[in-house]
Symmetry: C2
Subunit: 300 residues, 2 copies
């Protein structure tokens, strides 16, 4: 017998995830504030509900895929929120990328109602969501993870149990701060080589052959050379993860100097109106700083 | 007919390189200040000379593999230096990692004597030198590169022509600054996850599956978990490359904030007496800064 699934968050990520679950045959209830998105989901077979509380009342497992911590908190504990409808023994799986600190508090608060929570942020972007090939990093009780695993397998293909509540979110933050810092390194290498007049395509190839090799150099390095800054994963979402990483660092009393620096770069990119671009557009910050243009050099 | 090769710089890198060239059948003359090293080279078949100038007089191509810019300058242009013995049409191949700015000046100065120079720094460490599998990044005249290529092939296996004089050195600097910055990123990710209580081996594996993947995360990440800081490539040499990168940046009027920060970390490591360790020991700086120990956690 299939679990009854509730799904809240019908954005770029959420919609294709719901589609994959519908295709897998799960009965799905959705709730949201955008009638046009609900209509589309209804046509595809989802049941529409008029509040998070009512959705919760008819679901065994509720998935959330929302922009940031506040959104998850308000859907969970706000007026007509999930907590008003969830019954003891049900499960909340938050696949948003939010603060690990808040995640732990929410999990604790739900546990008092005998409701289990998993944090299960993803990487792989809208393409991964559509093709069901997301990476999913999961925190929470291992037994609950095992229970939800068959459903995760319709959404992703690299599904890792990371540890206790918040461990999934922490891993996601580690992933994204490392991507941003590696991007800063690739950017500085390109700026130095570019100003020195060395062909950047050759630099990229030479560096991919050694210890400096990374997926960021390979993929985002290529994007810089092609002048192609279409996301991928938008700066404004990446900036949110950097903010959350620094929030955790503050709560835990940690200095993360490179994360701090890159967070500043991402903020500046949003200030420049580039929040909708890919992380590879970070090169523009270094180009502006150094009055030296290299991106899109392959096109010229 | 084999070119007569001169080789100056019989350190950890130079000695195995000379061995490989001797094995390939080239007649080789060496010069150096350490009699015990010369004796060993003599036993292996090299001719010993008593000055760089005298070595130059009987070589078609002279290779140098020295610690830093000053050493190369003094061997080239100092008293009884190469310039006193080199004849028009001969070639100097500097395989040291030194300043690209100085490299260009030296190449220009030699050109006035009708002597060609290549900068050909390597990566791959003493293991690569022994097994003849170095990566070699070459700058200078393309025809001269083609002429020396058959010899390079006895020393390395990933041999890339990068462009004009200095382009090899610039590429090497880009490689090493990117390795250092990626290392800082891996370090911050590990510190954050470690303090949050997430298992670092799992974090490493999860991150290797996504956009944050890099050889630094793979190899140096493993070293951190194993508490294994044997070089590899010594911090004190890496610090020299960071210094040279910042020198070029200054000469060209560039800000490279992450390079600057990591250069500071490497200086601090030398100050702590860790100059002989591997770059992965950078984690100690972040551990000290944050009063949180994670390295060698797999051993415990």
């Amino acid at each position: 017998m299939s679990e009854r699934i509730g799904f809240i968050g019908l954005g770029i990520m959420g919609r294709p995830m719901v589609n994959n679950l519908l295709r897998a045959g799960y009965p799905i209830t959705v709730y949201g504030r955008h009638p046009e998105l609900l209509e589309d989901m209804h046509l595809k077979g989802a049941i529409i509900e008029t509040s998070a509380a009512r959705l919760a009342a008819q679901s065994d497992i509720v998935f959330t895929m929302l922009p940031d911590t506040d959104d998850v908190e308000s859907v969970l504990f706000g007026k007509e929120g999930l907590h008003e409808g969830l019954v003891a023994g049900s499960i909340v799986v938050d696949m948003s990328s939010i603060s690990p600190v808040s995640t732990r508090l929410m999990a604790k608060r739900l546990k008092r109602l005998d409701i289990d929570m998993l944090d299960a942020p993803v990487s792989g972007g809208d393409v991964g969501a559509k093709t069901g090939t997301l990476s999913i990093m999961v925190g929470g009780d291992r037994q609950i993870f095992n229970q939800v695993l068959p459903i995760f397998q319709y959404l992703g293909e690299h599904i890792v149990y990371m540890g206790d509540h918040g461990a999934g979110q922490v891993t996601k933050l580690c992933n994204n701060l490392l991507v941003a810092i590696t991007m800063a390194g690739v950017g500085e290498a390109f700026i130095l080589a570019g100003r020195a007049g060395v062909d950047l395509e050759r630099v990229r190839e030479a560096l991919l052959g050694g210890f400096a090799a990374s997926r960021v150099l390979e993929l985002h390095g290529k994007r810089i050379l092609n002048g192609d800054f279409e996301p991928g994963f938008k700066i404004e979402l990446h900036a949110k993860d950097m903010k959350n990483a620094l929030e955790v660092a503050r709560e835990m009393g940690l200095a993360l100097p490179a994360t701090l620096m890159c967070s500043g770069y991402l903020n500046a990119m949003i200030g420049r109106g580039e929040g909708g671009q890919d992380i590879s557009a970070m090169i523009h910050i270094l180009e502006t700083l150094n009055s030296h243009s290299i991106s899109g050099s392959k096109k010229n």
